[in-house]
């Protein structure tokens, strides 16, 4: 390692840190991303210039292929598909780190114990990240079923794999050159482990999974930094690792579940019995015309979006209705639960795409204290995150989860296809409250019907 190179790497690390710092406000975030990308460009240029002996032909092939694929994907992806894309990219990052560690072993098998140990860690994290992310991507894009996949003895199989990996890792670390078959065994087992760890996790728990895999992809880069003794990889990898862990913690807290519960319980795999009597009660259904009358008279309205908004691609229709309400003198807010959607901040991005200004996006903790002052709360494709059972039914699986307390608003209009249960498989008492009105149908169609009512009324 030569000296000047290391100094430029310090500058790169500084730019990454500055970039993350500017991400603390939507007003400066874009500049932060730009600075961060400059840091990356600098790191690449300096690496190429600082190592004169590099043969460029293969580098150019890889860079060109990656840049074309990456740029195309970034341009084409629909905002509703962001969770899949992030999941896939996490997997690529993990695999890239694994490959670099594998390369080190391949070209100099006689590694010292410390380096061999870090090669093992890098392969382990990178491999789990790669296959785990592929499964997460499959579930999010509905290429495979989003339902938890459970089989008898699942935990036992996982534990056996982990124990075998530990034994293999120790053998490999102690004498890497003599244990090439062990290395390949480790590769295969980490790939299998990644699959097994993610298949038992249901679709709506994916925000936690992709946050965790995000963290792993950083830690894999960090481990690879130890392998090749490169400080910028270590610093950057740990920044990403920390970021993913924080997001994971926020998501778990917003569901009042431990990480272990999310990862291992197979939540959502069974339809638990609906609490007594709920089926007998009647939900009051309204037409778009009735809903229009309520909204037209409201002084303040809060929209509560959920995954159903993303599925119905209803973000633009929601904003259009919001704009008409504002023009009518109504105060409009969008209340967003931390786990609404399939990844952290999913709803915010969709609404931003539809040109909702970010000062209208309100967090759960900010909306709940003023909920009783809101005349009409419109639920668009959300279910469990507004289920009052989380507050008052101790037998409910979601008891204790913080919710958006929509039931305390003057009137609640719920846009939903049917009275069916949400992801947690439990009925929702909110649908049967005295102040609740169901507006059945596709969320987008319902919103458009309301927009049409407003436009008709204005002539």
């Amino acid at each position: 390692m030569n000296g000047p190179l290391q100094f430029v790497y310090i500058l790169c690390a500084f730019l990454f840190i500055l970039g993350l710092k500017l991400l603390s406000s939507p007003a400066t975030a874009r500049k932060g991303n730009l600075l961060s990308s400059l840091g990356m460009l600098l790191a690449v240029i300096v690496t190429l210039l600082g190592n004169k002996t590099l043969e460029l032909q293969w580098i150019v092939v890889g860079l060109a292929a990656g840049a074309i694929v990456g740029a195309t994907a970034a341009r084409m992806v629909a905002m509703t598909s962001m969770p899949e894309m992030v999941a896939l990219f996490n997997g690529f990052g993990g695999l890239a780190s694994l490959l670099v560690a594998w390369f080190e072993y391949r070209t100099s098998p006689d590694l010292i114990a410390f380096t061999a140990g870090t090669v093992f860690v890098s392969v382990l994290i990178g491999g789990v990240t790669f296959t785990g992310s592929l499964i997460a991507w499959g579930k999010l894009s509905e290429r495979i079923s989003g339902k938890p996949v459970l089989f008898p003895g699942q935990h036992l199989v996982n534990i056996l794999i982990v124990l075998t990996l530990i034994v293999g890792g120790v053998m490999f670390t102690l004498s890497p050159a003599a244990n090439e078959p062990v290395f390949y065994g480790i590769l295969g087992l980490t790939a299998l482990l990644g699959v097994l760890l993610v298949i038992p996790i249901g679709g709506a728990d994916m925000p936690v999974v992709i946050s965790l895999l995000n963290s792993y992809s950083g830690l894999a880069a960090c481990a690879t930094g130890f392998v090749i003794q490169n400080t910028v990889l270590i610093v950057t990898g740990s920044l990403v690792g920390a970021s993913g862990i924080i997001l994971t913690r926020i998501m778990c807290k917003a569901m009042n579940r431990s990480l272990a519960n999310v990862l291992f319980s197979g939540f959502g795999s069974t339809i638990s019995s609906v609490k007594g009597g709920a089926e007998q009660r009647e939900a009051r259904s309204v037409t778009a015309e009735d809903a229009y009358v309520m909204l037209e008279a409201a002084r303040s309205v809060a929209f509560v979006p959920g995954y159903g908004l993303a599925v119905a691609q209803a973000q633009h229709a929601a904003r259009e209705l919001g704009d008409l309400l504002e023009a009518n003198g109504t105060e409009v807010r969008y209340a967003i639960h931390p786990v609404a959607g399939r990844m952290p901040g999913h709803m915010n991005v969709l609404l931003a795409e539809a040109n909702v200004p970010y000062d209208q996006l309100v967090e759960m903790d900010a909306i709940n204290p003023v909920m009783s002052t809101i005349d009409v709360c419109v639920i668009i494709g959300a279910n469990d995150v507004v289920n009052p059972a989380a507050l008052d039914d101790e037998s409910s699986p979601i008891y204790g989860m913080p919710i958006i307390e929509a039931h305390r608003a003057g009137t609640v209009i719920i846009m939903k296809r049917s009275l069916g249960a949400g992801f947690a498989g439990i009925g929702n008492d909110l649908f049967f409250k005295d102040n609740s009105r169901m507006l059945f149908g596709d969320a987008k169609a319902s919103l458009q019907a309301l927009v049409a009512e407003f436009k008709d009324a204005q002539g």
């Binding site: 939507p26 043969e55 090749i228 910028v232 931003a352």
Partner: protein, 101 residues
């Protein structure tokens, strides 16, 4: 690698983790998706290691394959991650700047 280097690297690791926690805790929830795609791009830093690998692979075909694939995957992360993050952040606007239709 000397024990001294190992300790130094571990020390850097510790400081970076602490800095990471402090920085990320201040990111508002409304920006969590761009944070994830942005940190995805940053984790493409493994590209630096991949470049060194692909450039020193020599005639070993397996090593070449490992290096080139690593470069390609890491640069997908870097290029795709930064571009899509920029595309998203561009959409976050304040009310005042919203120009009517």
């Amino acid at each position: 690698m000397s024990a001294e280097t190992a300790v130094l690297l571990a020390f850097i690791f510790m400081l970076a983790v602490v800095a990471g926690f402090e920085l990320i805790a201040k990111v508002p929830s409304t920006l969590h998706t761009p944070l994830m795609s942005g940190s995805n791009a940053i984790s493409g830093i493994t590209l630096v290691g991949a470049l060194l690998a692909a450039g020193t692979a020599g005639d070993d075909r397996v090593a070449v394959a490992l290096g080139v694939l690593a470069v390609a995957l890491a640069s997908i992360n870097v290029v795709g991650g930064y571009l899509v993050t920029d595309r998203m952040l561009e959409m976050f606007k304040k009310k005042e700047r919203k120009d009517g239709k």
